[in-house]
């Protein structure tokens, strides 16, 4: 970085550029973590806006605001923005901020690659948004009306916006593969002396498993969308039956990625809970080893059950039975994690600050989503529920608590550490209650809608579904707008507030609480000594 050397003449230290250069050229894990989190927040609002348009349209039967193609374009865009734009970058932001602090490393293992994996994201995000916008320009072709699953043959027929989307997915994939490599290399090689793998904080474990999952499945998705691109432009017929291909192959490639992806979204938040719950129950985590084992089991079995998304494609009885049993078996290690959390709280001296409120709510609501998941795993039942609003209710009940609320809990938990200021606890609790009420109002009625036969991804519905849709849409407005409060709390905390101590929370344990709040730009340049109680 020659252009910044004028600012600084110490030969050993990195130059610390200021202004926009500080961010664009950053190799500092804390700055990159902040960038990831801000990017995720921006995407959360964009994805939220598309979701609220969807719910506004569904407020009444009939077609009022949108047209069918635009509706489905929004559905596609909402899912991709939330999954690839909001949840994954936010989890990566937490990883960047916390992993080096937690394992006593001065930075990530590959700081310049870290810069690259972040700065690919804004480009990818732009592509993603363009894929939504392009059809509105003359000659822009048709809208992406496939849903985030991008099944051919429809995805082969969509106009050029699909090419933007394929490119965006490639970029997002490269970004998360690079970030995963970085995280694994850091975790395997940069732990402070004395911190064995089995003493590593659970958040680091969850990210180790997550990063491996990403490395195993993202390239397969990249292969799938590459084939799609070739089918669209280069005359191949990977997915075209008329040319000897098979559209079902794409579904296998997609869900080979797609199912492990749900654990990619889930696990980092499980990691956050594994710190939040012991802190506010003032007890060490119950069952550290079983937690690690459960996580690895979820990751491994999760790789081989993908076709539970495809029960209706006409697989043989043997194949569907296998996928059904495999899927139901996964609920055992997932359940084990939940029981560990409950056992951690058992007889603890609990207090309910905002992160803990989220944690308790997550346990309740995520378990509920897991139960509807087991219902969907049962083949004959799924034949009925598949592609109905019941599936929408299921995955929002697992994803919102299991991923998004977990990230909220993490943000409230670590915000004082990052900014050096306590957030406004009263506002935090208010946000929690509005947010969780809005969420349940929005998605609980969708179970009934789905069971009564309302299909997903359709702009219009039968008048008999009106009441529940009205409730759901009102809930969605409450839920959506509640995030403005989150934004306000975060900005307010960044700008000031009661100073935070370095330990922040009375019950907090771990290396990250031994550096000041906010941490200095460089931390753990000499590795700390690991004492016994710092494990887990």
């Amino acid at each position: 970085m020659s252009h910044t050397s004028t600012l600084h003449d110490a030969p050993h230290h990195h130059a610390n550029p200021t202004g926009w250069r500080r961010w664009l050229f950053s190799t500092n894990h804390k700055d990159i973590g902040t960038l990831y989190l801000l990017f995720a927040l921006a995407m959360l609002f964009m994805g939220g806006a598309s979701a609220m348009l969807i719910r506004a349209e569904l407020f009444q039967p009939g077609i009022q605001l949108l047209d069918p193609d635009l509706y489905n374009n929004l559905v596609t865009n909402h899912a991709l923005l939330m999954i690839f734009g909001a949840v994954m970058p936010a989890a990566a932001g937490l990883a960047n901020w916390m992993i080096p602090l937690m394992i006593g490393a001065p930075d990530m293992a590959l700081p310049r690659m870290n810069n690259l994996s972040f700065w690919i994201l804004p480009a990818a995000g732009t592509m993603l948004i363009l894929s939504f916008v392009v059809p509105f320009f003359p000659g822009g072709g048709s809208q992406i009306n496939t849903g985030w699953t991008l099944y051919p043959p429809l995805s082969v027929q969509v106009g050029m916006s699909m090419d933007f989307l394929i490119f965006a997915i490639h970029l997002l994939g490269i970004s998360s593969v690079l970030a995963s490599i970085n995280i694994i290399v850091t975790l395997l090689n940069m732990r402070a002396p004395g911190m064995t793998l089995m003493k590593m904080p659970i958040f680091c474990w969850t990210w180790l498993v997550t990063a491996f999952l990403l490395i195993l499945v993202v390239p397969v998705l990249a292969g799938g969308v590459t084939m799609l691109l070739f089918d669209r432009h280069f005359g191949t017929s990977f997915f075209d039956a008329a040319g000897g291909g098979d559209p079902v192959l794409f579904q296998h490639l997609f869900w080979f990625f797609g199912h492990p992806e749900v654990y990619v979204l889930l696990l980092p938040s499980i990691g956050v809970l594994s710190h939040v719950i012991p802190t506010f129950a003032r007890k060490p985590l119950f069952g550290y080893k079983s937690m690690v084992g459960a996580m690895i089991a979820v990751g491994t079995i999760g790789m081989v059950v993908w076709a539970h998304h495809q029960y209706t494609i006409g697989m043989s009885l043997g194949a569907v039975s296998y996928f059904m049993i495999g899927t139901i078996i996964i609920s055992i290690p997932v359940g084990l994690m939940i029981f560990n959390f409950i056992a951690t709280m058992w007889r603890g001296a609990m207090t309910f600050e905002t992160p803990m409120l989220f944690a308790v709510a997550i346990i309740l609501m995520f378990t509920f989503g897991g139960l509807s998941g087991v219902m969907l795993a049962v083949v004959p039942a799924d034949m009925q529920y598949h592609d109905s609003m019941f599936v929408v209710a299921h995955f929002h009940y697992v994803l919102m608590p299991g991923a998004v609320f977990g990230l909220f809990a993490g943000v409230f938990y670590w915000l004082p550490k990052w900014t050096g200021h306590m957030y406004d606890e009263r506002l935090g609790k208010l946000f929690f209650w509005i947010n969780v009420t809005g969420f349940n109002l929005t998605f609980f009625p969708q179970h009934f809608l789905g069971l009564a036969g309302m299909p997903r991804r359709i702009i219009d519905y039968n008048v008999m579904f009106t009441e529940f849709n009205v409730i759901s849409s009102i809930g969605a407005m409450i839920f959506g707008f509640s995030h403005l409060l989150l934004l306000y709390i975060v900005i307010k905390t960044i700008r000031g507030g009661e100073p935070a101590t370095s330990r922040v929370w009375e019950g907090a344990r771990g290396l990250e609480w031994e550096v000041a709040s906010p941490p200095p730009f460089h931390t753990w340049e000499t590795p700390p000594l690991i004492r016994q109680e710092q494990s887990a």
Binding site: D67, P68, D69, A109, L110, P135, P138, G139, G140, G141, S142, P153, L154, Q157, V158, G159, M160, V177, S180, I181, I184, V185, L188, N189, M190, P193, I215, L216, V217, V218, P219, V220, L221, A222, G223, G224, M227, F238, V248, L249, H252, L253, F256, I313, G314, M315, S316, G318, A319
Partner: protein, 203 residues
């Protein structure tokens, strides 16, 4: 750990992980032959392969049954559509599990180009699920230029699972002018985007 050893370890991990990434990218492509292989070795067959195999590749496999079912074709045209529309065969005797084709002739009596949509229905309704159309003009709207006529194919197979008490069935088509225009981009965009939307229509 001294810095040199740590740097060496890091490099090794990076290489291993990069290989894994490349390997998984290749694995995605390898899945194509692998799926076929898996199905051959284990004898797993998807339902569609099974029926396609019987109907096309091995017409006399065990799943085809010897029953003879009578299927009748019936057409009616809504007065709002200036078309003639008839099946070239009024009825057929078919074996369940075997693929058949029947052509329907349509002619536009007017001089303007007209779009029609055929709506199928099956009697008795219990047979509906067992009549599999592999190709049908009713999957899409059909547009005929003024005075033009076409023959449109229907390829179908009756499932071997057809309940034994059903020995004959009727497939009727009502042809009508669609009330809503086909979903399309706004008219002012139409000229530039015509190729795209035309492709889109075919789906």
């Amino acid at each position: 750990m001294n810095p040199a050893a740590q740097a060496r370890n890091k490099r090794r991990t990076v290489w291993l992980l990069s290989l894994l990434v490349l390997g998984m990218f290749g694995f995605g492509f390898a899945l194509m032959p692998l799926y076929d292989l898996l199905c051959q070795v284990t004898g797993i067959q998807s339902v569609s392969l099974r029926s396609a195999g019987e109907a096309v590749a091995e017409p006399l496999s065990i799943r085809e049954d010897s029953r003879l079912i009578t299927i009748k074709f019936d057409t009616s045209v809504h007065p709002n559509l200036p078309w003639d529309f008839q099946p070239l065969e009024r009825h057929l005797q078919v074996h369940p599990g075997k693929l058949y084709q029947v052509n329907f002739a349509a002619r536009n009596r007017s001089s303007a180009s007209v779009t029609g949509q055929a709506i199928p229905s099956v009697a008795p309704w219990q047979a509906t699920a067992f009549l599999n159309k592999l190709e049908c003009f009713c999957f899409n709207r059909q547009t005929l230029a003024g005075g033009a006529s076409v023959e449109m194919p229907l390829r179908f197979m009756i499932s071997p699972d057809l309940p034994p008490e059903i020995r004959s069935l009727t497939l009727s088509y009502s042809l009508m002018k669609p009330e809503t225009p086909a979903p399309e981009l706004a008219p002012e965009l139409a000229p530039e985007s015509a190729p795209e939307s035309a492709r889109h229509e075919k789906g």
